[in-house]
């Protein structure tokens, strides 16, 4: 079948949308990073934060259009996802001296190893052992995977019939 592709969409949307997208990109990134880094203190974590960062890609795809999207490297995004997961599994493996997935950093006094008292407290950044690094790893992976899915689907559906 023939699907009509709108050539004018190849370069993305109008300048207004583009500028708005670039302006929005900063707060979206900051929000995503905040959600990832404070996953052990406030609602959120690697998954929601990663999804927020992945919306950046979607925004870019919609605003910048097909030609710019083609310049994104799928291999690199996939690589980033793999790195995130290997990091995650690594933090699982370093506990293997005790058991797989043992939280070896918690209460150890080292990085992220601060003790916290029981009960309500204002929230300390350097706590929770391997949970914050795992959040970061998962955030990287989720952002990469979702971006990759969005990018590939976008390119495939925008592609002309050959």
């Amino acid at each position: 079948m023939k699907r009509k592709t709108d050539k004018s969409m190849d370069d993305g949307m109008s300048i207004i949308v583009k500028v708005a997208a670039y302006v929005l990109a900063v707060p979206i990134t900051i929000l995503g990073l905040y959600i990832i880094l404070h996953g052990h203190l406030t609602p959120g974590g690697g998954f929601p934060g990663g999804a927020v960062i992945a919306t950046l890609t979607v925004l870019f795809l919609v605003a910048a259009g097909k030609e710019k999207a083609k310049a994104l490297k799928k291999d690199m995004i996939s690589f980033a996802g793999g790195v995130g997961l290997v990091m995650f599994a690594f933090f699982g493996f370093i506990g293997t001296g005790t058991t797989f997935f043992y939280n070896i950093l918690a209460n150890s006094g080292s990085l992220f190893g601060m003790r916290i008292p029981f009960g309500v407290n204002p929230g300390y950044m350097w706590t929770a052992g391997v949970i914050p690094p795992m959040n970061m790893a998962v955030g990287l992976e989720v952002a990469a995977s979702l971006s990759l899915i969005a990018l590939v689907m976008f390119l495939y559906t925008m592609e002309d019939e050959r």
């Binding site: 291999d75 996939s78 690589f79 996802g81 793999g82 790195v83 997961l85 290997v86 599994a89 699982g92 493996f93 506990g95 293997t96 005790t98 058991t99 797989f100 997935f101 043992y102 939280n103």
Partner: protein
């Protein structure tokens, strides 16, 4: 080192293929050779670890592993399990050995089979993820983890079914497979939610220990059995099997057989371990038996008129699943009756479980042989094939071994397990045994037809240039064929050392619960 590996083996058998898959995007930059070597290496390591673990478990030493606890055996720090617990008893080890061995052989076969097509690194990534999902499904002792592993298995196998995505039919088969398996997985999740709401536990053993068998538990039982029966391709939901097995690349089809059997394992685990005698065993057992009979008979009758070689084999795969359901269903039906259980129930179950491993091997061999035919001739239409025995004698021999084995001819392994099923089922209900034998005869007839039309007859001019398959393919098939012969010649040893402990473990509900609690 050995003791360390053995202690952490239950977690490592799942983690190894996973990590190998995660590292794949990095290795793909080094080229296709590195990807293949890495995948094969990872699966070899998994296989050796599983064999190490399996030898220990089969000698009567089940492993329990609490992930993230201060010591692996600390399952109940407060009197109840709070972490995910991997529990490997003889049954789990039995299934894990099947999964690991077949995945390794499939990977070896794929090295040459998927040579010319793009997306190889993704193919091996998904193969490794599928292995991890299967290993997890058979090893885990946690209901929610079971759901997650099931989804990992179905997402990765769904993608692999659509490997030849531009054909259209394969994406259609994959879509159908994904819909069925995601609805099945959602039913498992719903059952897990029901259990969680009642007992505040997700561990299989803990739930089993607290089971009251009220109305909600029965709902959960029905949901779980329906979901896993759907996933293993029992009859009312068998339509996805023929599409998925038929459209997937041949090595993936061979692997999907094992994936279905992992679901079958989950079904048995739920019936025997989670519910046990508490379930209305008579009704449940008969339900499985009837399901098995229908699956067996409808599968084979739909297979006979097929023209597509892989589609035909898929319907036979459905039909063979019926034998396993029949054998284990008979055992479930007499579970409350000690005399009947001792005299034929255990034999029926051993027959069913023996058939699981045999089916994985001969169906794998048949699918791989079909793959070899497709690889060399480029067609899968039986009407177009013919006279291949002149050009591909090795493939013909392997196909014949698989065909004899699936039809239950001595001295192949299919005969050994089918004989055990016939004998024991005859004492339960003679009619069922007769139908099972009839199905076997129909299977033989169907495969003789295939063999005749694909391999025998005069050499066709269009296949004059066809050569024997490349070495990696026949080596992996040869290993399967050798094991089929060995299992057929020494069935008593296999039953004694592999199937016997597995069936004992499945019956030993108290032992499984006691491992955790």
């Amino acid at each position: 080192m050995m003791a360390f590996l053995l202690q952490h083996a239950p977690a490592l058998v799942i983690a190894l293929p996973l990590v190998a898959a995660f590292a794949m995007p990095m290795l793909s930059r080094l080229g296709a050779r590195a990807v293949k070597a890495w995948a094969l290496l990872a699966l070899l390591a998994t296989e050796s670890l599983v064999l190490l673990l399996g030898r220990d478990v089969m000698s009567g030493n089940p492993h329990v592993y609490a992930l993230g606890a201060t010591i692996p055996s600390l399952t109940t720090p407060a009197g109840y399990p709070i972490r995910i617990i991997i529990e490997v008893d003889a049954m789990s080890a039995f299934m894990a050995m099947i999964c690991a061995s077949i995945s390794m052989l499939v990977c070896m076969y794929s090295l040459q089979y998927v040579r010319k097509k793009g997306g190889q690194d993704k193919y091996y990534t998904l193969l490794l993820l599928m292995t991890a999902g299967m290993m997890g499904l058979v090893c885990t002792g946690d209901l929610f983890s079971m759901f997650v592993f099931l989804e990992l298995l179905s997402v990765s196998s769904g993608a692999l079914i659509a490997f030849h995505a531009r054909r259209g039919e394969s994406s259609e088969a994959a879509f159908k497979f994904m819909v069925v398996s995601s609805i099945g997985a959602l039913m498992v999740l719903l059952a897990a939610g029901i259990f969680y709401g009642q007992y505040n536990m997700l561990n299989l053993a803990a739930i089993g220990g607290m089971l009251r068998f009220g109305f909600l538990d029965k709902v959960a039982l029905v949901l779980l059995v329906a979901a896993f029966a759907m996933k293993c391709g029992a009859v009312p939901m068998h339509m996805w099997v023929s599409d998925a097995y038929g459209e997937a690349p041949a090595p993936v089809s061979a692997f999907l057989v094992v994936a279905s059997q992992a679901s079958l394992y989950a079904l048995f685990r739920v019936c025997f371990t989670l519910f046990g005698v508490a379930a209305a065993t008579e009704i449940m057992g008969w339900a499985l038996v009837v399901l098995g009979m229908l699956t067996m008979f409808i599968g084979v009758t739909m297979a006979i008129p097929q023209k597509d070689i892989k589609r035909l084999m898929s319907y036979h795969a459905v039909s063979q699943t019926g034998y396993m359901l029949l054998g284990v269903g008979v055992c479930l039906a007499v579970l409350g009756n000690a005399a009947a259980l001792g005299s034929f129930g255990i034999t029926a179950m051993q027959g069913g479980l023996f058939h699981v491993v045999n089916h994985a091997m001969y169906k794998g061999l048949l699918f791989l042989a079909a793959g070899a035919i497709i690889y060399r001739t480029g067609t899968r239409d039986l009407n177009k094939l013919g006279g291949l025995a002149h050009r591909m004698p090795l493939t013909a021999v392997f196909f014949l071994i698989g065909a004899f084995s699936i039809s239950g001819l001595p001295p192949f392994n299919g005969f050994a397990s089918k004989l055990m099923i016939y004998e024991s089922v005859f004492r339960f209900n003679p009619l069922l045994s007769v139908i099972a034998m009839l199905t076997s005869i129909l299977t033989l007839a169907s495969f003789m037809k295939v063999f005749h039309s694909a391999f025998l007859g005069p050499e066709l001019p269009e296949y004059r240039g066809v050569r024997e398959m490349p070495p990696a393919m026949w080596i992996s098939m040869g290993i399967l064929a050798v094991f089929i012969m060995l299992f057929g010649i020494f069935p008593d040893l296999v039953v004694q050392y592999l199937v016997g402990p597995a069936s004992q473990a499945l019956l030993d509900r108290i032992g499984y619960l006691g491992g955790v609690l």
